[in-house]
Amino acid sequence: MTALGRLVRVREAGLVVMLVILAVVVGAIQPRFLTIATLDIILLAIPLILVAAMGQMMVIVARHVDLSIGSILGFASIAVGMMFRDIPEMPLWLGFILAIAIGAGLGLVNGLIIALFRLPAIIVTLGTLSLYRGLIFILSGGRQVDPNHIPEALIRMAQTSPIGVPWIVIIAFFTALLAYVFLRHLRLGREIYAAGSNPDAARLRGIRVNRVTLVVFSLSGAMAGLAGLMYAARFGYVNPGITGVGFELTVIAAVVIGGVSINGGIGTVPGVVLGVLLLGAVSVALPILGISGFWQDAIYGAIIVIALIVDGSVRAGGLVRLVTGRGG
């Protein structure tokens, strides 16, 4: 366990190094990147991804994957947005509870199908990705919830707070803190790692692996639901055909960059936070550098791949092998 712990620490150190390299290189080309204003932009670019990544990392640590979070985000935000529109006196806190509950419910459905029918999560959530998106259209009649129907107080949460940093940023980092405590110090959190490392061994040790499956998918859904309301705050409207589309790919990329093994059992909250920060920093650096829109997608994708290669090589000693030509 200590060897594993060391590896994970190396992983996090590697991410910090990559962040520093990014800051130095981009800052050298465009000094404006190293300002508080840019930090603000990065901090506002990551809250949705960070929150959803906390749920997704638990799913991946448990040796599953949740492709449906973009549609869960969309469903929760449309449903709660419509309630705000049709029941203007609905309090904001109730909106948050409902968004989280709706998300958890849809996530639980994923978990139940996977656990009961012993189906691969990648297929089941690919199905519910479409299913939930379809339900969004049916529920909303294809109509978006317009900016003037989103409560002002909710939009303010993406703009201000008493301590200067917008509320949604605070909520995102607080969620990460809760996830950290849960995964590190709670029995159920540790069971997720056990179930993901070796499901059969975990069963023999008396861990209810199916229960872990239900928990991680419910939490992933709940986080996506919370991200849905943060979406409404951040962008000021929710649209059935736009909101959350493609979101799952960004989140999974951030989680994997953050050092969570796609084979399950490995990954830490600090690593994922750094992965999200790295992705957020890159997405802001490209337009700050004034890189043409034609190139941005390719460069963004290349940086993800490079980050994974460098990191994976360091972890497996592959870089040493590559340099010395010896097996490791």
Binding site: R32, T35, A37, T38, I41, L44, A45, L48, F137, S140, G141, G142, R143, Q144, D146, P147, N148, A158, Q159, Y231, R234, F235, G236, Y237, I242, T243, G246, S283, V284, P287, I288, G290, G293, F294, Q296
Partner: protein, 332 residues
């Protein structure tokens, strides 16, 4: 009991009368790209109101998704129903040609509404377009110019790098900025692409604010981009020194007009397209309009309309400008 029978027979007579008029009325059906799209709901509203006035029978049907062939079964069903006019906003420029031909061979008038079917013009009777699209670029530059006293740095926030409409409009904007002396003091510093994705558009707009501290205006000729730019400027507290305008829908932009972040933006009127299409269809049907290029006809509130080359009919020449004075008149 007697009273009940009286009501029943009255209802029966009413029903018969209804059936009789329905047979005499011109039947118009409109098939939008898909259901539940507020933009097309507005076109439907135009059709319905005009038909209520003109005495035509109007219905609308549409597929759930805007796929190339998803409208075909709906058109086929309307042909069998024996409608007089099929108006449609097609999901494909050519996939519907055969079924259009079938409808026209039965004497049904086929009208394309909102966008034409380039290359397939022979398969429809006429196309009703919302606006003369060549006016969009210059009109957007003029609107932003009037908001920033024709002076300062401006940027464009577009959709994707390959969006055909936006690229044509942006080229028109660049041309007019370079050639018209009125805009000599307006400098286009960059064109950013938000991919019509709210997150990307927002980050790009934030980068514009960071990279160009003296930026005076942003034009975003796409509904996702203009809302994102407005949201960013509102969050940064940069209005009114930094003006945002572009192409947006009134419902999407209402909040920003009301809180003063955005002074004005533009689009066209889908409602008027519906009104125009209904008047045109009825006129052709009763012979008062000859469907040939160069012919003109009058539509109440829209003035004299000319049928252009290839039987293309423009609902309005210039885009409509929405601001605090008129935004409450629109709901789409």
């Amino acid at each position: 009991m007697k009273k009940l029978m009286l009501i029943a027979s009255a209802a029966a007579i009413g029903l018969m009368a209804g059936a009789a008029t329905a047979q005499d009325q011109v039947e118009i059906v409109y098939i939008p790209k898909n259901t539940g799209n507020p933009y097309f709901d507005s076109i439907i509203g135009g059709f319905a109101d005009a038909c209520a006035e003109l005495g035509c029978s109007f219905t609308t049907v549409a597929p759930a998704t805007a796929e190339a062939t998803s409208q075909i079964p709906f058109i086929t069903a309307q042909i069998q129903r024996g409608v007089d006019v099929i108006a449609i906003s097609p999901n494909s420029p050519d996939a519907l040609n055969q079924v259009f031909d079938r409808a026209r061979s039965r004497g049904i008038q086929v009208l394309i509404v909102n966008s034409d079917i380039p290359g397939s013009e022979d398969h429809r009777d006429a196309a009703i377009l919302p606006v003369d699209f060549t006016t969009i670029g210059p009109a957007q530059v003029e609107l932003l110019g009037s908001m920033i006293n024709y002076d300062g740095e401006i940027a464009i926030l577009s959709a994707t790098t390959d969006a055909p409409d936006q690229n044509v409009w942006i080229a028109d904007m660049q041309t007019v900025l370079e050639s018209d002396d009125a805009y000599a003091d307006m400098e286009l510093v960059t064109i950013a692409y938000g991919d019509d994705d709210p997150q990307k558009s927002t980050t790009e707009a934030e980068a514009l604010l960071a990279n160009y501290p003296d930026l005076a205006g942003i034009i975003s000729p796409t509904t996702v981009g203009v809302a994102a730019a407005a949201q960013v400027v509102e969050t940064a507290g940069r209005a009114p020194d930094l003006q945002v305008t572009g192409l947006g829908t009134p419902n999407q932009m209402r909040r920003f007009i009301e809180n003063g972040t955005v002074e004005a933006f533009q689009l066209w009127s889908p409602y008027n397209q519906g009104v125009l299409a209904a008047h045109f269809a009825m006129g052709v049907n009763d012979g008062s309009i000859t469907n040939e290029p160069g012919q003109t006809f009058d539509v109440p509130n829209l003035g004299t309309i000319t049928i252009g080359d290839d039987n293309v009919i423009l609902t309005q020449d210039q885009p409509t400008t929405f601001n605090a004075d008129n935004i409450d008149d629109f709901n789409f």
